[in-house]
Assembly symmetry: C2
Homo-oligomer: 293 residues x 2
């Protein structure tokens, strides 16, 4: 069903014809109703944003969802990064998603009792195929991900969007108007310049922002145990203050995050503690403080 829907999304461009197409209108109304119905059963929606790519937005999304699930909350994770979906790899999801025989809804992949995941990657037969879609097709697939997936009753839905302020983030905000933003950055100015754009985006679209996470902030040499600022330091907190946003915390760089991203088990699902885990726990606490769960 979803493959047919994807085809339809690709055909349904943003250009509306002058003569009203009753079938298309009807389908759109049906989809809007499905989206509304699904969203009503999800208590809190977190939208993880970054201005710049490569700041660890997908790692943060994956570990945030894993932590919330570990705390006992029913959690969904939705990867809408059409061009560079990383979430499937991070949870070792290699097979296509299944379809429910009765409702014909797409079934999210169950990672554990509390955590389900959907990634655009899990819809593709050939994982190395580039998705060369223009904006309107991407809008279509994101709406499908909200409306055609059997999310069920959730405490949290974590949404991982591509970097920047283009079609995908805009569609997420328009489709999920009560989503709350969590902004991820690294400490250096080139990244912070893009973060200020993300903050401007949140203000423009009037999305509530829970705060800024500074990722890859500091590293401990595995040989001599001395501290190294790989991407400078302190920029995230400074930017949060200057922009009147909450600073949710600094997370150190950890090669285990790189390895765990490749191995399919997010660090927050490990049992052993460590500086990354400790810092990440604090970030999640700072997020939950602002929410009534």
């Amino acid at each position: 069903m979803i493959h047919k829907n994807v085809d339809q999304a690709k055909k349904a461009s943003s250009c509306s014809s002058k003569t009203p197409q009753n079938d298309a209108d009807k389908q759109r109304m049906e989809m809007d109703a499905m989206i509304k119905d699904n969203l009503a059963r999800i208590k809190h929606k977190f939208f993880v944003l970054s201005g710049k790519g490569g700041v660890g937005k997908s790692s943060v999304s994956a570990n945030l969802a894993a932590t919330l699930a570990k705390k006992g909350y029913k959690t969904g994770l939705m990867d809408v990064d059409v061009h560079g979906p990383s979430i499937a790899q991070m949870f070792n999801i290699t097979e296509l998603l299944d379809i429910a025989p009765d409702t014909k809804q797409l079934l999210p992949r169950r990672i554990n009792e509390n955590l389900t995941v959907v990634s655009v990657q899990a819809l593709m037969q050939d994982k190395d195929q580039a998705v060369i879609w223009r904006g309107p097709a991407k809008t279509g697939i994101i709406k499908q991900f909200v409306g055609s997936v059997a999310w069920g009753n959730l405490d949290f839905l974590v949404i991982d969007a591509p970097p920047g302020t283009g079609d995908e983030p805009l569609t997420v905000v328009q489709t999920i108007p009560d989503a709350r933003g969590i902004i991820v950055t690294t400490p250096q100015e080139v990244a912070l310049a893009d973060v200020r754009k993300s903050i401007s985006f949140c203000k423009t679209v009037k999305m509530q922002t829970l705060g800024i996470i500074e990722n890859m902030a500091g590293y401990t040499c595995p040989h001599c145990n001395k501290h190294i600022d790989l991407f400078k330091s302190g920029g995230g907190e400074k930017t949060a203050k200057a922009q009147g946003l909450n600073f949710l915390g600094s997370i150190p760089f950890d090669t285990r995050v790189v390895e765990s991203g490749d191995d399919g088990v997010p660090v927050m699902m490990y049992e052993a503690p460590g500086p990354f885990k400790d810092a990440f726990e604090k970030v999640v606490e700072n997020i939950l403080k602002q929410i009534e769960v």
Copy 2:
């Protein structure tokens, strides 16, 4: 003029009305002629791509352009990353671009005798403003950057596009059909998965690809001088071999690249040698070997 053009680009969506608009058609034909004229005066076009963000694509673009200019080639650098333009910061371009009084063309910023730069950032009054444009508007601005900028006679034009395989890369390829791809990655699998998508993109759009650069490959601890694989190692070369592409070389991680990116002078413009500079020189040699200049 460009601000008016940007407005027009934003209005001119992809939806063509049923009644032919002669003015719009005429403008489009004029723009196509300007693009053709500009491209005819540029010998070689390099399109720097990455599947994943944050792999250092903009650093590589900036340092590639700086190195070519240093070797005596007339070089232009065009930043078409509408949502996260980093190139202006990397060359400390803080003012808006000027307009030629006679031709009304946009004047690229002159960095030195051989190097000129244009970034979407240099068109914005408020640097922290998010550019919330959907696909068609982005297509418009990229075409303007090729056709309305007084590039003059160039040996090389280096194009820095946003990560992924969406509107912007597609527009670059359609506007500059003889552009040759240079793919940047980091060594870990999550990045390589996206690189394979970039390779698939190049094949799909039939763009010649010069090869793969592996960036942030290895780091030397500044305290104990021991080697650390921050993002694993060897993945770029392995992927190049598996995909039948040239491997252009590995470049080590260097905090000086982070700092120089913030300070406005790319490392390749420094005088002092170092592991990053040496490795980068080899990469540029491997690129130039494949080109008749």
